[in-house]
Each structure stands twice: as structure tokens, then as C-alpha cells.
């Protein structure tokens, strides 16, 4: 047997694996259009952050499939600031706090529906801010898709939330203090525009008649309003803008990926305050892309409480300080230690066949945060320093190493 035999033997890969990895180009789906069966994923249960998803179908006629209109009903009063719940310790699930629903029909328009099923809001027990926005949508797999227009439908979502006065970077609006702002956007196909829903402000003004919803329902779960000082710190340090930039970039990548993806896909952003100490405020943001399987990208936004400035790894050290070498050595040491003690742990070190891909040293702008004890924690995304199955990995750098390097005290 030669290499061709091996190559041809790959044809014997099981159907389910071939289908699972299949990417059907848009046109292949468009070709299937007849009456536009669109399958949407309906997230119908949110319990402590866990989500149960079941599939719903709706039919769209070919004529209606020209565009999607989602009319929105927003109860402004219910989306008002949640100060009255500020002392609650337990989640207070209030369905319909923010609801956007109803597939309004217009002649010549494609009919869609957008629902923000639940807005879960409960008070901050600390400074934690957790916003989860799930925009779930399904593009029917090539065996099932019937709609041409559904083929390039996409959904994305973003949530930003603050009790403080927030000015949205693109100048869409400025909300009053105490108003929680929840913003979601979906992007749909071709001629359709954004669907924007907000949990505050003039509801009527937020209805976008041309807005569209792509074979998908929108789900927003919000929990834990941030404390005022945290939100102020974020705004002052320009972190809100950075978060927005990051989400927009992830959304762009996600949209691009949809051109070739079929089946259920979702993009979820999660914000979480990892540290809120006297010295540091760190916001962890996760972008989780799921299409049967998932990829998680984590970024930390760190703000010095002393200077109220956003800091990166480089800015922690005096100019000219070689922090990369000692931190990298420590990371490698911990990698080896973990591999020695845990047979399932694997990092990209000492490869026989691919040393060029081995972990060499940290990036000058390696992701990091300070934990509550003031220890520097270096973070690596999936595939960055270890095989994908290891997920995101973190290494806590001992103080005796960092104290000699940092230009300011921890």
C-alpha cells in the first residue's frame, strides 16, 4: 500500500463523521429553496445559566421570504433600572421583563420573529457583572434546508449592560444613569438590516421596521448588575469601547463563518468580573462559538484601581525590563510539572515531530489578570499552548517572580 491507498482509505470514514464535518456552500442550500422551511432553535429554559434548547420550526412562504420583519414589543417599565432588586440574593426570574416578539408581516417581506424570551436580572452580590446573550439560529442542514433566503441568514448578539451613564460608542444613544442597557443585534440576510432591541429608553423608538431576525430567536439572560464603581472604572478606562471592538470583531468572524456553516450555530458572549480588589478590576470576556462543537476565546480587561487606567502586560513593567523570559520559564516549569503529575495533561513542549510549533515563550501582550490575592495569572486560549482538548489554560505566577519585575506594587 502506498500513500494513495491511505488517502483512498480515508473515504471509508464513517458517514456520521463526514456529515458532521460537512460544510455546505451557500448555493447548495439556496438551490434547495422551495417554500422556505426554516428551523429555529428555541431556547426555552434557563436555569442557573444552564440552557435547554429545543428546535422549533416555522414556515415561510417563498413570497414572504423576501425579507424579514420583526416587530417588537418592549415593556419599558419592566426594563427600568433594577435598583429595587439590588438587595436580592437570589435570582429573580421575571419572564418578559424584556420581550421582543411577534413576527409581523408586511407585503413582500420575509417573516421572521425575534424573541427575547427572558431577561433575568438580579442584583449584584458583589461587583460581578455577567451578561449572557445567546443568539441561536439554525440554518437547516443541506439535507433539510428548503429556503434560499435562509441560507445566508445569520445571527449574532451582543449585550452591554451598565447602571452607569453609558454612551454607546457609535453614538446610538445615551442612557440615563440607573437604566440598565441591554442591547442585542441580529444581522440577517441581504437587504435586511439590524434588529436592535433595548431594555431601556423609548420603546417605540427602538422598533426597527426593517429589522430582521434570522430563523432564530434571540435570548438574553442577564444577571448581576455591576456596581457603580466598577462600571465607572470600565467607562473611564475606555474598556467599554474595547469590549465593543472585541465583540464586533467576533461577530464579524462569526458571520463570515456562517457563509459555509450549516446546522445550529451560536455565538455567545459572557462577561464576568474576575477580580475587584483594592488594586485591580478585571473583567473576563468569553466569546463562545458553538456549531455542535465549540470554541472559546477568552480575553481579560484589566484596570488599575490606582490609576484608573486600562493596563496590558507590557505596561505592568518598566521599559526595558525582560519580563518575557522569566515568566515564560515559569510557565514552562508549570507545564512540565502538570504533565508529570497528570497523565491527561499535555502542553506543546518537546515535540519530536513539530518542535517549531512548541510553546516557546509568552507573547509580549499575553492575556492575564490578577487574582483576588494579587497574583499574576497568565492565560492562554484554546490551541495556544496546549492541544484543543485542554481548553483554555492558566498559570499563576508566584509573587517572588513578579515582585522583582513589576514597576508598581501588586
Amino acid at each position: 500500500m502506498d500513500r494513495y491507498d491511505i488517502l483512498q482509505a480515508m473515504s471509508g470514514i464513517r458517514d456520521e463523521y463526514i456529515e458532521d464535518a460537512a460544510v455546505f456552500p451557500n448555493q447548495a442550500i439556496e438551490d434547495r429553496d422551495e417554500k422556505g422551511l426554516i428551523q429555529g432553535a428555541q431556547e426555552n429554559e434557563i436555569i442557573s445559566g444552564a440552557k435547554k434548547t429545543e428546535t422549533a420550526e416555522m414556515e415561510i412562504s417563498a413570497e414572504q421570504a423576501a425579507a424579514v420583519t420583526a416587530e417588537r414589543e418592549i415593556s419599558a417599565k419592566e426594563t427600568a433600572a433594577d435598583e429595587d432588586t439590588a438587595d436580592q440574593k437570589k435570582p429573580d426570574v421575571r419572564e418578559g421583563d424584556l420581550s421582543v416578539e411577534n413576527p409581523g408581516k408586511k407585503p413582500g417581506k420575509k417573516t421572521g420573529r425575534a424573541k427575547i424570551l427572558r431577561l433575568q436580572r438580579w442584583a449584584a452580590t458583589a461587583a460581578a457583572l455577567v451578561c449572557v446573550c445567546v443568539v441561536a439560529f439554525t440554518i437547516r442542514s443541506s439535507q433539510k434546508v428548503n429556503s434560499a433566503d435562509s441560507s445566508d441568514m445569520s445571527g449574532t448578539g451582543m449585550v452591554s449592560m451598565s447602571k452607569e451613564k453609558v454612551k454607546v460608542d457609535d453614538g446610538i444613544r445615551t442612557e440615563d444613569a440607573q437604566d440598565a442597557v441591554s442591547e442585542t443585534e441580529t444581522y440577517a440576510s441581504d437587504d435586511t438590516k439590524d434588529a436592535v432591541a433595548s431594555g431601556a429608553g423609548d420603546a417605540d423608538g427602538l422598533v426597527n421596521e426593517e429589522s430582521a431576525e434570522a430563523a432564530a430567536d434571540l435570548y438574553v439572560e442577564e444577571s448581576d448588575g455591576p456596581d457603580v464603581s466598577a462600571a465607572t472604572a470600565m467607562t473611564d478606562a475606555g474598556v467599554t469601547g474595547l469590549v465593543r471592538q472585541m465583540t464586533e470583531e467576533e461577530v464579524r468572524v462569526f458571520e463570515n463563518s456562517l457563509a459555509e456553516e450549516t446546522g445550529y450555530s451560536s455565538l455567545r458572549f459572557t462577561h464576568e468580573v474576575t477580580t475587584d480588589s483594592d488594586d485591580w478590576f478585571s473583567l473576563r470576556m468569553k466569546a463562545y462559538t458553538s456549531a455542535a462543537d465549540g470554541f472559546e476565546q477568552v480575553t481579560h480587561f484589566n484596570i488599575s484601581r490606582d490609576t484608573s487606567e486600562y493596563v496590558t502586560l507590557e505596561t505592568l513593567f518598566s521599559e526595558g525590563t525582560d519580563y518575557i523570559t522569566p515568566l515564560s520559564k515559569e510557565v514552562v516549569r508549570q507545564m512540565r510539572e502538570q504533565m508529570a503529575s497528570d497523565p491527561d495533561a499535555e502542553f506543546w513542549l518537546d515535540s519530536e515531530e513539530g518542535p517549531e510549533y512548541d510553546f516557546q515563550e509568552i507573547s509580549p501582550a499575553q492575556d492575564f489578570y490578577f487574582d483576588e490575592n494579587g497574583n499574576l495569572v497568565l492565560c492562554f486560549n484554546e490551541g495556544e499552548a496546549a492541544p484543543l482538548y485542554m481548553g483554555t489554560v492558566e498559570f499563576t505566577i508566584p509573587r517572588d517572580i513578579t515582585e522583582k519585575l513589576l514597576k508598581n506594587r501588586i
Binding site: 464513517r14 463523521y17 460544510v23
Partner: protein, 186 residues
């Protein structure tokens, strides 16, 4: 039209089956063929052969997964075509790259009398190996060695760095090789 209806058309010997198949799976199969052959002319001929192959196979076949069934036919025809030299190596050496990657598995033992048996055994080991992989790994592997996508395409598809994809595939090949050795196929 869904798969069952298309298959029924084949079974009814209705020639619109080919038209429907081409409409639904044309691009899907074209991508596979193009990844291997790299020229529109060759791809067109390969696709025509694919539809003919499907026509000749169904019946008696009644594939559970029509996409995989057609993709497999396309892939085998394209590789055979390439191997026979019809493609004039216009692929930009994409296939050559894949072959080179699989080179470390080319020390497979061969039973000349029963090579088909070896092939089936090889396929079984590949599937057993994939069973042990995570879905992520499996997808990368299938995209690379079944669909013959380039590393760059796979990296973009899954939002990974090219080096991540390369290293993951490298490690998977190494694991597969080990499994083949254990099974006595190397």
C-alpha cells in the same frame, strides 16, 4: 427536495434524480473535486462521473446519508483521476501536500493477495482512531483528509491559527500511526 425523495427518484429510474442531486449537492461535491483536481474542466468531468456513479449505484444502494455517499464517490473518482495523471497536477500541489503529510503512514504492510481486506482493515482502524478523538480533532482530520481542505481553509473555518491546525493534525497522525502499528498494519 430532501434526500429521501431524491433517492426515490433514483429507485424509480427517473432521470430528474440527477438534476435534483446536482442542484442540491452540486456545490458540495464540486468543492471536494476541486480540492483534489484544481481545474474546472476536470471538476466538471468528475462531477458528471459522480452523478453517473450515483445512478449506477442507486439502486441497489439506499444510502443513509446521501451527502457522504456522493462525497465519497466524488472523492474516489477525483483521486483516481488525479492518480491517473488526467489532472496534469494543476492543483497547486494541494493533494501532494496531503500525500506528503500521510507519508509517515505509507509504511503500511500489504497483503498482495487480499489487498481489499487490508483496505477494509485500514478503514476500520481509521474509524476506531476517530472514535477516540474529540469532535474538534475529528472535524479537523476529516476536513483535511476527507474533504482535502487546505490547512489555511480549516484554520479560518474553525477560527484557529494555522499552526494550531498543523500541530493538531500532526499529533493525530502520530497517534494513528501508533494505532496502525498496534494493529499490525505497519
Amino acid at each position: 427536495m430532501d434526500d429521501n425523495k431524491i433517492i426515490e427518484l433514483f429507485w424509480d429510474r427517473d432521470e430528474t434524480a440527477i438534476e435534483e442531486t446536482s442542484a442540491v449537492y452540486g456545490r458540495y461535491c464540486r468543492k471536494i473535486a476541486y480540492n483534489i483536481l484544481g481545474s474546472e474542466e476536470d471538476v466538471e468531468e468528475c462531477l458528471n462521473d459522480t452523478w453517473l456513479g450515483a445512478w449506477n449505484s442507486i439502486p441497489p444502494a439506499r444510502p443513509d446519508c446521501l451527502s457522504a455517499f456522493l462525497g465519497r464517490i466524488t472523492r474516489n473518482l477525483a483521486i483516481s483521476r488525479y492518480r491517473a495523471g488526467h489532472a496534469l497536477k494543476r492543483t497547486g500541489d494541494r493533494l501532494s501536500e496531503s500525500l506528503d503529510e500521510l507519508g509517515d503512514l505509507s509504511g503500511l504492510s500489504s497483503n498482495n493477495v487480499e489487498e481489499a481486506v487490508d483496505r477494509r482493515a485500514l478503514e476500520a482502524v481509521i474509524n476506531s482512531f476517530l472514535d477516540t478523538c474529540s469532535q474538534k480533532q475529528r472535524r479537523l482530520f476529516v476536513r483535511r483528509y476527507f474533504y482535502m481542505d487546505s490547512v489555511a481553509e480549516i484554520a479560518e473555518m474553525y477560527g484557529l491559527g494555522q499552526s494550531d491546525v498543523k500541530v493538531t493534525l500532526l499529533r493525530m497522525r502520530r497517534s494513528l500511526k501508533k494505532m496502525l502499528e498496534e494493529e499490525g498494519l505497519m
